[in-house]
Symmetry: C2
Subunit: 332 residues, 2 copies
DNA sequence: CTGCGCTTTTAAAGCGCTTTAAAGTGTGGT
DNA sequence: ACCACACTTTAAAGCGCTTTAAAAGCGCAG
C-alpha cells in the first residue's frame, strides 16, 4: 500500500511551502485566498490526514485534555460524552484513559502525561489528597465529584446535601413522615449526603426523627438494607444512589410491597437505568452536562492563564420526579 | 515549574549518549551493565518519563492498537479490559476512542488513525461492510462480534447459534417443553441466534414447536415481550440478551409469577449485572477473555506478517447456570 | 521610478525521540 | 607487539509537523 501522504506532499501538489500548507490546514490567518484553495484541493485529492504525533510534538501547546474514568460506570460514560463535546467547543482534544482492575489511577494518569496532556480531568478520583495535590502542582487538574482542598486542584462537584434535601422535601410534600436514608460506603460523599438528609429532616415540620441505615453503592447493598427495613418499614426511603435504589425496589417488591403505593423510593444520579420505563425511578440528577462544562472550563481557564486560584464549582442538583414516589398509604 | 526532563538530560546525567540511554530505557540489548545502571539511576533521579508523541514519531512501528467502543456498553467495557491486558502481554499499547452520540464510528476511527494505530479493533462495528473492507485494505482491522467477509478484515465472534442451543438443551434437560425465544433487533446476530434456537428445538426430542417473539436489546423490549407472553406463558424463555432478560424478569414478577418456580429465564452475555446476587441470572457467556485474546492475536499476526489471509475466529460460548432456571412447575 | 509599509510566502530550525552506520574498546591468539 | 574479532558506544540523520524570522511581493505616496 502507498505510504500515507505527508504535509510535504500536499504542499508540493499545491505548489506552496509546507509552512503555508500547515497554516491553511489549521485555519490560521496568513495565507491568501488562492493559496488556501490550492492547499485544500491538494489535501482533498491526496486524502491527507495530519499525523497527530508529529503535530503534537511540534506544537508548543498540545491542547489536549486527559480524562481518567471507570469504563464500567455509566455515570462516567455520560460525563465523558459531555466532556468531549465541551472540549470540542473550546478547541481542545480529549484523550481517555480507562481504569481497569489491572490498571490503576496512577498508571492511567501517567499514560495521559506521556501524551503531554495539559489538563487532567479525573472522574471521581480515588487517589489520596496528597497525590492529587502533587499532580496539581505540575498540571492543570480538575477533580470531578470529589472535594479536595489544594491550591493546584480545581474541583467540580454537586451540592449533594442540597440534592438529598430536595428528595426529603419532595417526600414530605407528598405527606410522608417516616423517611429513611440508606447510606453509601463511608467517605466524603456519604457524609455530605447524610448531612443533607439530617438537616432537611430537622428543618421540615411534621416529619419523624431521622433514620439512617448502612448501605453501599450496589444493588446488593440495597437489598441488604431493604431486608433490615422490612420488619418496620418506613413509608419512604432515599437511597445513596440509583443502583442501591434498584436493590431496594427489588427486595420490597419481592416481599409483596407495592412501590410507590406502600412505599416510595428515591435514588440518586439519574443514571440511564433510572430513566428506563421499566424502572422509572424518582431520582436526583447531578446535571452531568453542567458538570462537564464546568470542568472543561476550569481546566481551560487554568491553561490559558485566566485564573490561578483553585476553583470550587458547586452545582445545584435537581430532582427528577418519576414513578417510584407517591403519597404515603392513608394512615392506618 | 521546571520543564519536564528529556532523554538528553538523562543521558547527560548518566554520562552516556542519548542513543545508549534510549536503548537502556527500552530494555533493548546492547548497553553494558555499567551503562544500564547509570542510565536507570539518572532516569529515576530526574523522574524521567518518555514523551509518547516523540517516540511515536521516531519509531517506525508504533505498536499501537486502536479500539473503538461504546462506553455505555458494559460488555464493551469488559472486552476493553481484557484487550488492554492482552495487548500489554504482546508489547502493544492500546488507545481507545469512544463512540458517543456526537461522535460516530467514522470519526472515532479517524482519530485512531491520526495517532498512527497499526491495528484497529472494532467492537461491534456498525459501519457498512464496504466501509469496513476499505479500512481493511490499509490497516489491520479486526471486527469483533460481527461477521464480515473481506480479505482485509479479521473477525472474532462467538458461535451464537451454539450458545442459544446450549440454553435450549439446559432447559430441555430440566424438563421444559415450552421454550420461547425473544429475539433482538433484526440483524446478523439475531438471525444467528434464532437459527440456533430453531435447530436446537428441532433436534431435541419432546419439546414443543418453536415460539419466537420480536424483542430487542433493552429492558423495555423485554417488558413488552413479557407482556405478550403473559396470556399463554411458556415454562421457559430465552432472551436475546441480559438486558432484555431483566425486562422479562421484572414484568413476570410484577404479574405475580415466580422465577424460576413458575417460569425459567435465560439471558445472553453474562454481563456484570447478571452476576449480581440480586439478579442471579442464568445466561450464556461469550467468553470476553478469549475474545479479546483472539482479537489481539489476530491483529498482531497481521502486523508481524505471520498471516495475510483473513482470520475468522469463532468462539464457543458456554452456559452459566444461576438462579433463574429450574424444572418447570409440575404438570397441571 | 524609488522607497516605504503592508501582507503573503518561505527557508530553516527545532519538538524529543529512535535508529543506523560508523567509531571505539578491549580480548586473546600468534 | 600486532591484528582480527566481538562487544559497546556514539554521532548524526531523520520521523512529520509547527513556528519564527526573514524574504518576497505589492500597492501607493512622493
Amino acid at each position: 500500500m502507498p505510504p500515507r501522504p505527508r504535509l510535504e506532499d500536499v504542499a508540493a501538489r499545491a505548489r506552496v511551502s509546507t509552512a503555508t500548507a500547515s497554516l491553511v490546514l489549521r485555519g490560521k490567518p496568513g495565507p491568501g485566498a488562492a493559496a488556501r484553495e490550492a492547499v485544500l484541493d491538494a489535501a482533498r485529492a491526496l486524502g491527507y490526514r495530519p499525523d497527530a504525533a508529529a503535530s503534537l510534538l511540534a506544537r508548543r501547546r498540545t491542547q489536549l485534555l486527559g480524562v481518567t474514568m471507570d469504563v464500567s460506570n455509566p455515570f462516567h460514560a455520560e460525563l465523558l460524552e459531555e466532556i468531549q463535546a465541551a472540549a470540542d467547543d473550546r478547541g481542545y482534544d480529549v484523550v481517555v484513559s480507562p481504569l481497569t482492575r489491572t490498571r490503576g489511577e496512577r498508571r492511567a494518569v501517567e499514560s495521559l502525561l506521556d501524551f503531554r496532556c495539559e489538563g487532567l480531568l479525573l472522574l471521581g478520583p480515588s487517589m489520596t489528597a496528597g497525590e492529587l495535590a502533587e499532580l496539581g502542582e505540575r498540571q492543570a487538574v480538575v477533580a470531578i465529584g470529589r472535594r479536595v482542598t489544594s491550591p493546584g486542584v480545581d474541583v467540580v462537584r454537586a451540592a449533594d446535601d442540597v440534592g438529598v434535601g430536595l428528595a426529603v422535601e419532595h417526600l414530605a410534600g407528598l405527606g410522608h413522615r417516616e423517611i429513611a436514608f440508606v447510606e453509601g460506603r463511608p467517605g466524603a460523599i456519604t457524609t455530605l449526603r447524610r448531612q443533607g438528609y439530617r438537616q432537611a429532616m430537622k428543618r421540615l415540620p411534621g416529619v419523624a426523627a431521622p433514620r439512617t441505615l448502612a448501605g453501599g453503592d450496589t444493588e446488593e447493598d440495597g437489598v441488604a438494607a431493604a431486608q433490615r427495613l422490612l420488619d418496620h418499614p418506613p413509608t419512604a426511603v432515599i437511597a445513596f444512589n440509583d443502583r442501591c435504589a434498584l436493590g431496594l425496589l427489588d427486595r420490597f417488591r419481592r416481599d409483596g410491597l407495592d412501590v410507590p403505593r406502600d412505599v416510595s423510593v428515591v435514588g440518586y444520579d439519574d443514571s440511564p437505568v433510572a430513566r428506563l420505563a421499566t424502572i422509572d425511578l424518582t431520582t436526583v440528577s447531578q446535571a452531568p452536562h453542567a458538570m462537564a462544562e464546568a470542568a472543561v472550563t476550569a481546566a481551560v481557564e487554568r491553561l490559558e492563564g485566566d485564573r490561578t486560584a483553585p476553583a470550587d464549582v458547586v452545582l445545584e442538583p435537581h430532582l427528577v420526579v418519576r414513578g417510584t414516589t407517591a403519597p404515603p398509604p392513608s394512615p392506618a
